[in-house]
């Protein structure tokens, strides 16, 4: 029997922006088992609902993650709005879609850059992040923030975007298509990139479902599942089909995210063409009494906010199940059989956000 070695991977590692630890059991250079450890930065933000007014907690929810901050805030708002049976203005629903898709675009571009960096392809990393800057500029112009938007609120949104600016955003995004295609084509067609991704870390269709993985990881294994199809915000009025791939390998996960970049431009285009005039928020009175599981699609997949309230200004419980938490079992399935050198790339293909996971 080949001698087994255990190699600790993380929580500090050059490719990991955030701390996750894996004990990798190896036979020669091949991984045979991986045991994860998280909890290095557990913040206990969920516990704060017991001390923060339910209206103010949106600020905390947005700070759960520095990448999909808007969607966190929005999902919390949806949970409370569903409990309180609040119907927000239609214009606010469309604005939520626009900011959600901009979040998805900057997150996927961030991921593409990190992926290129993990492959040692530094120029591709810089080009990906150069494009991300353009999306961040749009976010900054429309919200005043680049990381924390501060635009979600219970009862609607805090800020409007005038119609001329919305049209200019669509025009700019469409003009980025050519550059985006040039950059993403390198991920799709370059032999040196393909060599590191094709056939690496395959997650079979049945395993993906069985292990409860979500988002691009699930769709890359052939499942047409996207929480946006639930129709929250204005997604019920948007025509789109979830992007899927069949192979379930690292290349498929990369392809799904690339196609979703372009899909987000189409969704924003549709939203801008359909957005009605009108108010962006309604006044919220009373306190929540009840519970709801709000589900939305973050760039990394389905997030669930379970809010439970008993008619006071403080919730009794808020539980956030983040997509990275759901994707860890999938990662543990992908790793056995892979080469030690591929482990950093494989970990990145689930687009781990430990900040969310440790909430």
């Amino acid at each position: 029997m080949t001698k087994r070695t255990i190699i600790p991977f993380g929580p500090q590692h050059p490719v990991l922006p955030e701390p996750i630890h894996l004990d990798l059991v190896l036979e020669d250079e091949t991984v045979v088992e991986a045991i994860p450890s998280i909890g290095f930065i557990h913040r206990g933000l969920e516990k704060l609902v017991e001390k923060k007014d339910f209206l103010d907690f949106v600020y905390v929810a947005e700070r759960i993650c520095g990448i999909c901050s808007f969607i966190h805030g929005m999902t919390y708002c949806i949970a409370i709005e569903e409990i309180m049976k609040i119907k927000i203005p239609e214009r606010a629903e469309y604005l939520r879609v626009v900011w959600s898709e901009l979040s998805r675009m900057h997150s996927h571009l961030l991921w593409l850059g990190l992926m290129a960096d993990s492959l040692g392809f530094e120029s591709l990393f810089m080009h990906s992040w150069r494009m991300r800057e353009k999306i961040l500029d749009i976010i900054e112009d429309t919200t005043g923030g680049r990381v924390i938007f501060g635009s979600a609120k219970i009862g609607g949104v805090r800020k409007d975007i005038d119609d001329a600016t919305l049209k200019a955003i669509v025009k700019n995004l469409k003009s980025y298509r050519k550059e985006l295609k040039e950059i993403t084509d390198v991920f799709i067609k370059d032999p040196s990139v393909m060599h590191r991704l094709v056939g690496v870390g395959t997650l079979k269709k049945e395993d993906a479902y069985e292990l409860g993985v979500v988002g691009p990881v699930l769709r890359a294994s052939g499942w047409q599942s996207d929480t946006r199809k639930l129709g929250y915000a204005a997604y019920k009025n948007i025509n789109f089909e979830p992007v899927t791939e069949k192979a379930g390998d690292s290349y498929a996960r990369c392809s799904v995210r690339i196609k979703e970049l372009f899909q987000s431009i189409d969704i924003i285009d549709q939203a801008v063409s359909k957005i009605p005039a009108g108010p962006i928020e309604i006044k919220v009175t009373g306190t929540p009494d009840g519970e709801f599981f709000a589900r939305t699609e973050q760039p990394r997949g389905e997030v669930i906010y379970h809010a439970k309230a008993y008619g006071t200004r403080f919730l009794q419980r808020l539980r956030v199940r983040t997509p990275t938490f759901a994707n860890i079992p999938g990662l543990l399935k992908m790793l056995p059989g892979s080469n030690l050198a591929d482990v950093p790339v494989l970990v990145l293909t689930i687009d781990p956000c430990i900040s969310c996971t440790e909430r």
């Binding site: 069985e210 639930l230 379970h306 860890i328």
Partner: protein
């Protein structure tokens, strides 16, 4: 209303059978969570084709042992370890049991002060 959410109350001894039923019906386990400080409410949530079903189990205190469902749904071990570390809920026969070391919190069972003693 965004979506219909079906909720079913269950008893501890019904848990494995009900979860097996969900599994054989093709539902995926989307999350397990806990709430409460005295009596503990545990929610097992499932999804199939955007249809959300929640099994709600209430136990009188954290001293009541709950059977693990990790043999039925392999991803359940993460949620079950989390319940143990944050609330002190005792889950029996978890496939990968971290025995209280999943989260490195300075305060043990931080979400349930009654379970700290």
């Amino acid at each position: 209303m965004m979506e219909e959410q079906k909720r079913i109350d269950i008893k501890p001894d019904e848990l494995p059978a009900k979860v097996s039923e969900m599994h054989s019906s093709g539902y995926r386990l989307v999350q397990i969570d806990c709430s409460g400080t005295g009596a503990i409410e545990i929610n097992y949530s499932f999804d199939k084709g955007y249809s959300f079903v929640n099994l709600k189990l209430t136990i009188p205190s954290v001293d009541t042992e709950v059977p693990s469902v990790s043999a039925i749904y392999r991803n359940a071990f993460l949620y079950e370890n989390e319940m143990n570390d944050l609330f002190g809920v005792k889950v029996k026969n978890i496939s990968i049991d971290y025995k209280g070391n999943f989260y490195r919190t300075t305060v043990k069972r931080p979400f349930n002060p009654e379970a700290q003693s």
